[in-house]
């Protein structure tokens, strides 16, 4: 193993200069003299017809499609245009989805109104056309007794380039009036920025982040600065902020990212919020349903004991 601090000779002829840091890692140092062979590099960068075809094929593969599973027809307009709602509750991630399944979806009859199909590198299946409900999914429901309440269970990962498409297909591109959005998701506690040591934090715990138009008091403390959120929840919150829709994200920081009872129960304070209050009826039964869900979905892993 190379000793730290040993000088490193540049391996490439020109252009790239490599430098070794004190710790023995090699970093690429930018060369301000400019490169001599600029013309050759440009030629390499020029796109061929083949490149364009590959890019088109990839874009088609990564397209987000919204359709109705029962009729197998795609939605021509955005989901909210077809099903306008006053309450939109979105659960992203398996723990948030389990929470809504046990506490909200069992207290009422929910009808599926749409399903989003998408493929990216995180998907376990290669076949885009036959995504089974047991795998990662993104399904939309509305309450039969009160169709203005819309619910989304999203347990698949929506990549950065797909988030805009997802928003277009779901929210559309015009302002929605009289709508409130509630998002639920989980992140690992190591994402939580704090000056305290992580071992002193009592995880799981809930934090909230809301848009300017959300006037209700949230059910837990607000996420302190630097209040950074990622992925689809961030995309939805940004959209809501821009279109002045009141929205709140309830973020559960946990140290167990797989489906876990204690993490799911950490979402319980949200049950007292205005958007969920009317929808939850039987809490003890919900806890039983949750336990059953956990035992059926437990993936046997022997790595940790």
């Amino acid at each position: 193993m190379r000793r730290a601090g040993a000088p490193l000779s540049g391996r490439d002829g020109g252009g790239d200069t490599m430098a070794a840091t004190f710790f023995g890692e090699v970093v690429k140092a930018p060369c301000r003299a400019g490169t001599e062979d600029q013309e050759e590099e440009e030629e390499g960068r020029r796109e061929t017809a083949e490149d364009r075809e590959v890019r088109r094929h990839l874009a088609r593969k990564r397209e987000v499609r919204l359709f109705r599973r029962q009729t197998k027809t795609s939605l021509e307009v955005s989901l909210l245009e077809k099903y306008p709602c006053s309450k939109f509750i979105i659960a992203i991630g398996n723990n948030a989805v389990a929470f809504l399944s046990s506490f909200v979806m069992n207290s009422g009859v929910w009808e599926e109104v749409g399903c989003a199909k998408l493929w990216n590198e995180w998907c376990r299946t290669t076949d885009k056309t036959h995504l089974s409900p047991a795998e990662a999914f993104c399904v939309f429901y509305h309450l039969k007794s009160s169709p203005s309440v819309l619910l989304c269970q999203c347990s698949c990962y929506v990549a950065e380039d797909q988030q805009y498409q997802w928003l277009e297909k779901v929210f559309g591109s015009c302002a929605r009036k009289n709508m409130q959005v509630t998002l639920l998701t989980c992140r690992h506690v190591t994402d939580y920025k704090t000056s305290e040591s992580i071992s002193s934090l009592h995880s799981p715990f809930l934090k909230a982040l809301k848009t300017q138009n959300f006037k209700e008091p949230p059910c837990c403390s607000l996420l302190e600065q630097p209040n950074i959120v990622h992925d689809l929840p961030a995309a939805v919150l940004s959209y809501c902020q821009v279109w002045k829709i009141p929205a709140v994200l309830y973020l559960c920081y946990t140290d167990v990212m797989k489906l876990d009872l204690i993490t799911v129960e950490a979402f319980k304070p949200i049950l007292s919020s205005r958007s969920l209050k009317g929808l939850v009826k039987n809490i003890p039964q919900s806890t039983e349903i949750l336990k059953k869900l956990l035992t059926t979905n437990e993936i046997q892993s022997n790595i940790y004991t």
């Binding site: 193993m1 710790f23 890692e25 190591t190 071992s199 009592h202 140290d255 167990v256 009872l261 204690i262 336990k291 956990l294 035992t295 437990e298 046997q300 022997n302 790595i303 940790y304 004991t305």
Partner: protein, 250 residues
């Protein structure tokens, strides 16, 4: 900053962190909870049993292991790392006995395990062991001992401690409930261990495994039925305490 200093174990970060050791402590939190209690004449180890797959032989999924006749340990974290550490500790126990003709003291074997773990935080190209261990036993002098080690190679003696997932919750419970009365006799100490685990275990008594060592007696593993009996007694006591409380308020 962390991303530049967590590649190789032998590297300190500018503010003095060994990130690999800290990440190993995160791996420990992925293991199920284990609790250890030091009583007056007994030491108790309780663990949250992981649910076993249908076709899996339950006997091979053990969190509590004997290191010698008078010492046993429970671990939380990476199963494979635990197996390696336990094997080394068991060999050391026998080697020591053959050399000096005395059984190891609990402190000695703990120090051995901790030194082994520390070596892996200072070696080239190796990663630390991703386990924390609770080691209990009685020395020849008849005094009960409980020690805890962690991936950094530190070890401390404790009166009661917990490791693994939700260890913090269990430790707070123990801090509140570990009193002289709670360990006054053996059965109270056993009940304290079970009560501590019930705080975090997901489905009650059937997911708990318990082991005790009494002075001059070998390790005893509780059967599922014995644990159920204890859990029923605890629930009865809880109900009676609540009834008394509600009587007092009315």
């Amino acid at each position: 900053m962390a991303s530049r200093y967590d590649r190789a174990i032998t590297v300190f970060s500018p503010d003095g962190h060994l990130f690999q050791v800290e990440y190993a402590q995160e791996a420990v939190k992925k293991g199920s909870t284990a609790v250890g209690i030091r009583g007056t004449d007994i030491v108790v180890l309780g663990v949250e049993k992981k649910s076993v797959a249908k076709l899996q032989d339950e006997r091979t999924v053990r969190k509590i292991c004997a290191l010698d006749d008078h010492v046993c340990m429970a671990f939380a974290g990476l199963t494979a790392d635990a197996r390696v550490v336990i094997n080394r500790a068991r060999v050391e126990c026998q080697s020591y006995k053959l050399t000096v003709e005395d059984p190891v003291t609990v402190e000695y074997i703990t120090r051995f395990i901790a030194t082994l773990k520390q070596k892996y935080t200072q070696s080239n190209g190796r990663r630390p062991f991703g386990i924390s261990a609770l080691i209990v036993g009685f020395d020849d002098d008849g005094i009960p001992r409980l020690y805890q080690t962690d991936p950094s190679g530190t070890y401390h003696a404790w009166k009661a401690n917990a490791i693994g997932r939700s260890a913090k919750t269990v430790r707070e419970f123990l801090e509140k409930n570990y009193t002289d009365d709670a360990i006054a006799n053996d059965s109270e100490a056993i009940k304290l261990a079970i009560r501590a685990l019930l705080e975090v275990v997901q489905s009650g008594g059937k997911n708990i495994e318990l082991a005790i060592i009494r002075r001059n007696q070998p390790l005893k593993m509780f059967s599922a039925r014995e644990i159920e009996l204890q859990v029923t007694e605890i629930e009865k006591e809880k109900e009676e305490a609540e009834k008394k409380k509600s009587k007092k308020t009315t």
